[in-house]
């Protein structure tokens, strides 16, 4: 038999086996796949903990996707198959509710804070009043400063508000490194690729960050409040609903509080 014929047969057999294996894999079964939860990036650490606790208690699981709230809002409008949306800014939720994508207006689940983060070895100091930042801008210590994208990330918008409040926006603008979401901004800052950044307080507390950086909280009244609202989307199933409810239990709230969030029923 010709060389081509032999290799062709072998290839067809291999391909057949591969296709069979892949078609039969668990990921292909869509019907009872865990629901997808879209969460703002500042919940990166806290939500993983909460989801694990949820699974431990109920035996059900969810799939998490993190990103900027503005991005998710857009994707939901384009038909993204999320069942629950945890936004970092309630305006996005209200807009989606008004346009009929959600079940009602959802609920406030946390209030967030911003902090300035400074990696180890940086010439900056973690000063919550931003006086050091101002000085660093003047004397050239600052080369790059990370924030999330103000256009679609709530924490990015607050970072801009804070910087404007202190009159530093114009000076610092050319030195900004923009993260697609607050997690990426935190990553830029913590890795030392920027001398510092203004990111979510919850991320500054994260172990992976805490071990290589220092932080300081920035006064709340320097920016519009980060009222974080969650909402079930139209096609939400029972597991998503259960998770939505679980997020308002004391157990979940404790986890959120531990991660730097102010939770409702706690003066927020």
């Amino acid at each position: 038999m010709g060389h081509f014929a032999q290799s062709a047969r072998a290839l067809v057999r291999l391909a057949g086996l591969l296709l069979l294996a892949l078609a039969a894999s668990p990921a292909a079964a869509q019907a009872d796949a865990p629901p997808v939860v879209a969460a703002a990036s500042d919940l990166q650490v806290a939500l993983v903990e909460i989801a694990a606790a949820f699974t431990g208690e109920t035996g059900r699981s969810v799939r998490l996707v993190t990103g900027s709230s503005g991005n998710f809002s857009r994707q939901i409008r384009q038909g993204a198959p999320f069942q629950l949306f945890l936004s970092a800014d309630e305006d996005y939720v209200r807009d989606l509710a008004r346009d009929g994508f959600t079940r009602g207006e959802g609920a406030l689940y946390a209030v967030g804070r911003v902090a300035i983060v400074v990696p180890g070895g940086s010439p900056l100091v973690a000063d919550g009043t931003l006086d050091d930042l101002k000085a660093a801008l003047a004397d050239g210590r600052l080369v790059k400063f990370a924030i999330a994208n103000p256009e679609h990330a709530p924490y990015g918008r607050r970072a801009e508000e804070v910087l404007r409040h202190r009159g530093l926006w114009d000076a610092i603008r050319p030195k900004l490194v923009i993260g697609e979401n607050v997690s990426q901004a935190a990553q830029f800052a913590a890795s030392g690729n920027a001398q510092g950044g203004i990111v979510a307080y919850s991320l500054a507390l994260a172990p992976q960050l805490a071990v290589r950086s220092t932080f300081a909280l920035i006064p709340e009244d320097w920016h519009s409040p980060l009222r974080q609202r969650m909402v079930l989307l139209r096609n939400a199933g029972p597991v998503a609903e259960a998770f939505y409810d679980y997020l308002r239990t004391p157990a979940a709230r404790a986890i959120l509080a531990r991660n730097g969030f102010a939770v409702p029923g706690e003066g927020g």
Binding site: F4, L19, V65, G79
Partner: protein
């Protein structure tokens, strides 16, 4: 190591190759053998994904089958799921943006067959189908294999379009490339490292294979 993501990437790669194999052979043959008005335009269209920034492509794909488009709405009505943010949508995008990787090497493979050899096949009494199986495919085989290998590797590595059209939905559209991005943002360097090393190894293997096969084209016809 995100095994679900790896499996998803492999599935996307295999299915893309499975669809583009017959499509590439058919179109590669036509482009290799025939001259027709508008041929340059057709070849340019096929080559477009090579030069177009992935985000431009992703944007146009979203316009073409997003929830607001006729195709997207038809799909939603017919199957109850959108085309975007699903594996099927990703597969469709993958098929389109891999066209040059599939078609061009196959076209070169068929072009390398001397026209007299093809004519000789007919003069030997072989029907066009027999000529394809016994003469053309064996001679164009290295080009076809190169095309499949390149398509598979390119699919594994595609990031921008996958993210724009698929989102990063675990088990659905979070391929290895996207998973790496996700793990970096989650400060999970260990995972990101493992998956990156794997993709690097696969890419190197692919390049080595492609070079080995393109040498064989010369030897076979020499």
């Amino acid at each position: 190591m995100d095994w679900t993501a790896l499996e998803l990437s492999l599935r996307l790669g295999v299915f893309t190759v499975a669809v583009l194999l017959p499509v590439g052979i058919a179109l590669g043959r036509v482009l290799a053998y025939r001259d027709f008005p508008g041929k340059s335009l057709a070849e340019a269209a096929v080559a477009l994904p090579l030069v177009l920034p992935p985000t431009v492509f992703g944007y146009y794909l979203l316009v073409a089958f997003g929830a607001a488009s006729p195709l997207g709405q038809f799909w939603q009505a017919a199957f109850g799921r959108p085309l975007v943010f699903t594996f099927e949508g990703l597969l469709l995008a993958s098929i389109v943006f891999n066209l040059p990787f599939a078609i061009q090497p196959m076209q070169r493979g068929f072009e390398a067959i001397p026209p007299e050899v093809r004519a000789a096949a007919g003069c030997c009494g072989m029907s066009p189908w027999q000529a394809l199986l016994k003469v053309e495919l064996p001679l164009a085989w290295p080009g076809i294999l190169t095309a499949m290998v390149l398509t598979f590797a390119h699919t594994l590595g595609e990031f921008g379009i996958v993210l724009m059209v698929g989102g990063s939905i675990p088990g659905e559209t979070r391929t290895v490339a996207v998973a790496i991005y996700d793990r970096v943002q989650a400060f999970d360097d260990a995972s990101a490292n493992a998956m990156s090393a794997l993709l690097l190894a696969i890419s190197l293997a692919v390049i080595a294979l492609t070079f080995a096969f393109s040498r064989r084209v010369g030897r076979r016809l020499g």
